[in-house]
């Protein structure tokens, strides 16, 4: 009798999970985390993104739900050619179903092309170029966490509105820097500001003194840093040395991550305005998530890029389960159909052009006296509602959007 019951249960289980298994390619959902594991962008995404992805798989309870999920990791070294060959290898030989994270906009656009060609999925968290939901948008890709337009819209407009009307850009000389500069310049001009000059520095650059002198000579009120990671922190650090702030000019860090502020120290970073879509100390849910993350990542709080990977993996798995398939464009379509809800960004959705939307925050870096200890760095200056935080769909020029 008992044996019979077990048999029936077994058959029932097989029937329940059978069809799902049948359509998951090779029976495994394989997630490839591709990012910079060792260079300038390693701390803001890197191994931390992998930790976040693993947490998402566990929190989703994939094993409990009979979904077999595997995570693989690769270092694209911020080089488009390296990223491309990894993507091909993953899609062609290693049966990877989705590539997630991908900092460095030049790599993003290269991998985007390949994901579309191979009919797989791409979800970008750390990469910034707003072209991914504009001219380069694809039915195979979603842009998850933030983009150059949302940064420009948050930091750029806040600064122009408080009197910073003349700008000089220090721009990282590649796709990301150019896009961030372009999107910010548009915001500055739209709000009645003026761009007095710009200089494009090689990526990465250690010494900014020459560029800082040029920025100083321009007499612009605001020096816009259209770069990221160590480039941003070095520029701010050396700017202090050259008396930029004492001379009456101000830095606008157009993309600053929590790890950058941590590395600069509050003494140098205080007062900086920055735009992010996540901060660990926003509410109980973000605090609980971040505490668990820090325990697994050398005590470091998650950046928005890493939190974005967590949220993206969660929603991806949810959609795979709902669809009972891991077919690239079908899952992406399902992800756009289902509303998103997670402890990181709260409730949100994915637009038809592939843009995930959620509220975005304008933060100000605390003074050393205001901070209660390590990682207590931001205070919220403004909350930009999800519908206003990203570029309106009709302005991006995405061919997927019907006019």
């Amino acid at each position: 009798m008992i044996i019979l019951r077990i048999l029936v249960l077994g058959v029932a289980l097989l029937l329940a999970t059978g069809p799902a298994q049948a359509q998951i390619s090779d029976g495994v959902v394989k997630i490839g985390i591709m990012n910079d594991q060792s260079g300038t962008y390693a701390d803001l995404a890197g191994p931390g993104s992998v930790v976040a992805a693993r947490m998402a798989v566990e929190d989703y309870g994939a094993a409990r739900k009979g979904l077999k999920v595997e995570i693989v990791v690769a270092d694209h070294q911020n080089k488009p050619d390296v990223g491309s060959s990894i993507a091909r290898q993953w899609f062609d030989a290693d049966k990877v179903d989705v590539i997630i994270d991908v900092p460095t906009s030049s790599v993003v656009l290269a991998v985007n092309q390949i994901a579309r060609e191979k009919n797989k999925a791409l979800i970008v968290s750390t990469g910034a170029t707003s072209d991914l939901t504009g001219a380069a948008c694809s039915p195979n890709a979603i842009h998850w966490t933030y983009d150059t337009w949302s940064l420009a819209n948050g930091t750029g407009s806040a600064i122009v509105k408080t009197g910073g009307e003349t700008w000089f850009f220090l721009t990282a000389d590649y796709k990301f820097g150019h896009d961030l500069e372009r999107d910010t310049e548009a915001v500055v001009v739209k709000n009645g500001g003026k761009v007095l000059g710009k200089v494009r520095h090689p990526f990465p650059t250690a010494d900014f003194s020459s560029f800082l002198l040029q920025a100083q000579a321009s007499k612009a009120k605001i020096i816009g840093l259209a770069n990221a990671g160590a480039d941003t922190t070095n520029a701010i650090k050396q700017g202090a040395e050259f008396g930029i702030v004492r001379g009456g000019q101000q830095f606008a860090g157009l993309l600053v991550f929590l790890t950058d502020v941590h590395s600069l120290g509050l003494e140098k970073a205080q007062g900086l305005l920055l735009t992010e879509s996540f901060y660990w100390d926003l509410n109980d849910q973000t605090r609980a998530f971040s505490k668990r993350f820090a325990e697994r990542h050398r005590g470091a709080m998650p950046t928005m890029a890493q939190a974005g990977v967590y949220s993206a993996v969660l929603h991806y798995l949810k959609s795979v389960e709902a669809l009972k398939s891991d077919d690239g464009p079908k899952v992406i379509a399902k992800m756009k159909e289902l509303p998103t809800d997670d402890p990181v960004f709260g409730k949100g959705r994915v637009r038809p052009d592939g843009r995930k939307i959620h509220p975005v925050y304008l933060f100000e870096v605390k003074k050393p006296s205001e901070s209660k200890g390590p990682w207590d760095y931001y205070k919220v200056r403004a909350t930009i509602p999800a519908e206003q935080a990203f570029r309106p769909m009709d302005q991006g020029g995405c061919p997927l959007v019907k006019k």
Partner: protein, 289 residues
């Protein structure tokens, strides 16, 4: 562009050139006397900055102590390397020394990156050197002025010791004909060990000088070392004065490139290197052997 602004850029170029000069000097000394192409130089420069950081954060010893102690610590590390590994390679081709030191550099950088991440640790400018001078054409931070004066002093002192003193003449003789020098009762292997330690110490010293300007970062040496090698090639392998002069000169050239065509500023040195190799394969100051 106003001439005043160019003055500023000239000065900035000299300051960056000071780092090139100090690092290429160490490489030149090591190559001249040991025939080892020390690819670990960038990692040793990074270690100098980290030693300064540890001295401050663990023992509370500030910048000035680091300036003294960090080169010694890094130099001793170099001596240990030389004694245990490098000395086995002297009778082999240059390539083996290069491969060994390159491997060591990767390991050292990897260990530091694993331990301290890639975004760097803060190190403040010493209180005595904060602020700066308004020169009319530019604001010169006091610390940068100190860097340029101090490294010029170190470079010239090194040149003087090697080219103008008795000790220096022993060193130079030992590179020409070690057997003969040993016949005069001079301990050549010890001299070589100490020379390597000194060259590595110079890298550590440059690291301490760099710590307050850049973040103390495990990768700080990796990008710099390639440029410094180009400087050494342009100046002429093994030429002491050559590496000092080219170090400063290329800093200036790079500085001007940052004004007139910033996109090319990280390639200009390699273009010059290619041109020099075409016209004078032994480098500007090198002698054909």
């Amino acid at each position: 562009m106003a001439t005043q602004a160019l003055f500023g850029q000239l000065l900035i170029g000299l300051i960056n050139g000071a780092f090139y000069a100090m690092l290429s000097l160490g490489l030149s000394v090591i190559f001249g006397l040991l025939n080892i192409i020390n690819f670990a130089h960038g990692a040793q420069y990074m270690m100098g900055a980290f030693v300064a950081y540890f001295l401050l954060s663990l023992t509370g010893l500030g910048y000035w102590w680091s300036l003294l102690l960090a080169p010694i610590v890094v130099g001793l590390f170099g001596i240990a390397l030389e004694r245990t590994m490098l000395k086995r390679l002297y009778h082999l081709d240059h390539l083996y020394g290069l491969l060994l030191t390159f491997g060591l550099a990767l390991i050292i950088q990897g260990v530091f990156r694993n331990e301290f991440g890639s975004s760097g640790l803060p190190y403040a400018i010493p209180a005595q050197l904060t602020g700066g001078y308004n020169l009319g054409f530019m604001f010169l931070p006091a610390y940068r002025a100190w860097v340029v004066v101090f490294s010029l002093g170190v470079c010239l002192a090194t040149w003087w010791v090697i080219e103008r003193t008795k000790l220096g003449s022993y060193l130079r003789a030992a590179t020409e004909n070690p057997t003969l020098v040993r016949a005069f009762g001079i301990n050549v292997p010890r001299m070589i060990t100490l020379t390597y330690g000194f060259g590595v110490g110079l890298a550590g010293l440059a690291g301490v000088l760099a710590a307050p300007i850049y973040q103390v970062n495990p990768l700080m040496g990796a990008d710099l070392i390639i440029v410094v090698f180009a400087v050494v090639v342009i100046g002429g392998m093994g030429s002491i004065m050559g590496s000092i002069v080219t170090g400063f000169a290329l800093g200036v050239v790079e500085g001007f490139t940052k004004v007139f065509y910033p996109e090319a500023s990280n390639t200009v040195i390699f273009v010059i290197m290619a041109l020099v190799l075409l016209v004078r394969p032994t480098g500007l100051f090198g002698r054909a052997s």
